[in-house]
Symmetry: C2
Subunit: 326 residues, 2 copies
DNA sequence: TTGTATGCGTTATCAG
DNA sequence: CTGATAACGCATACAA
């Protein structure tokens, strides 16, 4: 049986409230005589007392737990963000509950129902299908919530990369090396991130063919097959999974197209394929989430939160650099 | 104010116990007249009742939450495992608390102290420094726990790849192409996974130089510099981070060494560097954890748990395949 | 400075 | 079949 306040109150000959006050460590602890405080602390550690945080949370309505609801922690992009968020939160005394929606609206809703019951203090979410109504509806009205990677109209607490700048930089680079005909392999148009990237690409480049699929590598592989008989000098993929799928399909590399994508491609620098990508600043994305969330958790939220937009950085590999003109 | 059992009891003119029995959905629910049961369920959904899981957990001593304590979810290997574990647990009605230790014994201990207080039902852990004593000491005595990737003497509930087989297969492949001189870049000897891999390598190959560092890519970069003036035909890295670091350091590729490593290297197949790796079966590792943990959580643990050992699969890229002999 | 009493929302025991 | 009532472990308003 675990030690409770009762045990240690009995042992020290004081009451549960006194013990609670001492052990809570709050300001109330100072209003206790040094003598009894000492005895309490001593026997507390002697008995190896561990506060039951569930009970505390029930009472204080604060669990010191935050949930992160995203499509897939297995995706390195999100995994790294999750890691940084977890570390940052841990420093502030919070734990992180990780939930995969798999881009499935059903699962997302399931979690939106479940999480508030679990007593989480806040939520960081990469929305799939939810709009403002369904979000604030399924969650408790005033649960602090931060949108990551994808904005939702009406909710100002959001952190995302500057997709227009990112896609624009890609177009700049492609035009600089003289790309004339591009193809586009994009993720679901229903996902704003993919949508916004695609819009810029279509606007700025001469897109001779395009394919929309899931946000996974299979779409890249499909694109490879679909575009086999198409003449193009560059393919733009709206995320790195898709680009991976495309590159993995390449067998012969006599005259490979330029691959343009978003996010980091590990090991790409020696690849005999010209690659250019707009990589997102993962550290700042994670940091942004926490810096937006913490004030809300502590109630210091001075009303006007501003969306955080983070610039991306253009990265090219050796093969791309050695490119002069097509 | 959230709806509670009291509200819905008042509304239906019944008592809290009755409402609880109905809404708990257990066998006790059947012992309630269909009439009142109907009314309760109706007004419950009418009022939008959401059970407070904290209160329930406090009472039942079951939180339906499991913790995963590992070095870093940002590492794709662990991130993917975490993802699969989360999905599997979610199907069984459990949530996952993800905790990064960063291979830091201090942080690991911190979590080992914190997690039981949070009321988790079980723990899956990639141990850093903990031995059996410190584990069972800091956790509640009977908290179900599964070791992932690294065994701890005395604890039989473990899931890991067959490191000897994995390293052996690597050596086989290297010897088959006539590797004579190898160098070894290994992670901390204190981590059993690295240690066991290194032991096999040293035993089976002619290792002309070696370097031990962290399990991160910096060690690979250090290795590149350190071995610049060493003659060798292959470098073995005890994990993929290290291999990444090494490969990223390569600028000219006139006569690159073979790189042997563990786990998947994305995009490696077109890389102009011969790569051979023993890739772990992530799906089976994750599945193994859950299949070991679930019975413990449900109390069906029939005493004799057996460690789960999972074979790896040898993967080579094009450059390696086109290798005849050195 | 400290103790008493009450409540957080549920489940479980025990009557009836 | 159902209703009081007592926990679960902790925090806090109110007394003293």
């Amino acid at each position: 049986m675990p030690i409770t306040l009762i045990d240690i109150a009995r042992e020290t000959g004081t009451s549960v409230s006194t013990v609670s006050r001492v052990l809570s460590g709050g300001p109330a602890a100072q209003r206790i005589s040094a003598a009894t405080r000492g005895r309490v602390l001593a026997t507390a550690s002697k008995l190896g007392y561990r506060p039951n945080l569930l009970a505390r949370s029930l009472r204080t309505r604060k669990s010191n737990t935050v949930a992160l609801l995203l499509s897939d922690v297995g995706n390195p992009f999100f995994g790294q963000i999750a890691s940084l968020i977890e570390q940052s939160l841990h420093r502030q005394g919070y734990s992180l509950l990780v939930c995969n929606s798999g881009e499935d609206p059903k699962r997302e809703l399931e979690y939106l129902e479940l999480l508030p019951r679990k007593g989480i203090d806040g939520l960081i979410i990469v929305v799939t299908a939810a709009n403002q109504k369904s979000l604030t509806e399924h969650l408790g009205a005033d649960l602090p919530i931060v949108m990551l990677d994808r904005e939702v109209p009406g909710l100002r607490a959001s952190v995302a990369s500057d997709q227009e700048q990112a896609a624009g930089a890609l177009c700049d680079a492609l035009q600089r090396v003289g790309v004339k005909r591009a193809v586009l392999a994009s993720g679901p148009a229903g996902i704003v991130t993919h949508q916004r990237r695609a819009v810029v690409i279509r606007d700025r480049l001469h897109v001779v063919a395009e394919l929309e699929g899931s946000a996974m590598s299979e779409t890249g592989r499909h694109a490879f097959v679909r575009f086999l008989n198409t003449k193009f000098d560059a393919i733009v993929c709206t995320n790195n999974n898709i680009a991976h799928g495309f590159i993995d399909s390449i067998e012969q590399i006599d005259r490979p197209p330029i691959v343009a994508c978003f996010d980091d491609m590990m090991m790409s620098h020696l690849l005999p394929i010209p690659i250019v990508s707009s990589v997102q600043d993962i550290a700042r994305l994670a940091e942004g989430c926490v810096s937006l969330l913490m004030p809300m958790l502590l109630g210091h939220s001075n009303g006007d939160v501003q969306p955080i937009v983070i610039p991306t950085r253009l990265v090219t590999n050796l093969a791309f650099k050695s490119l002069k003109h097509l």
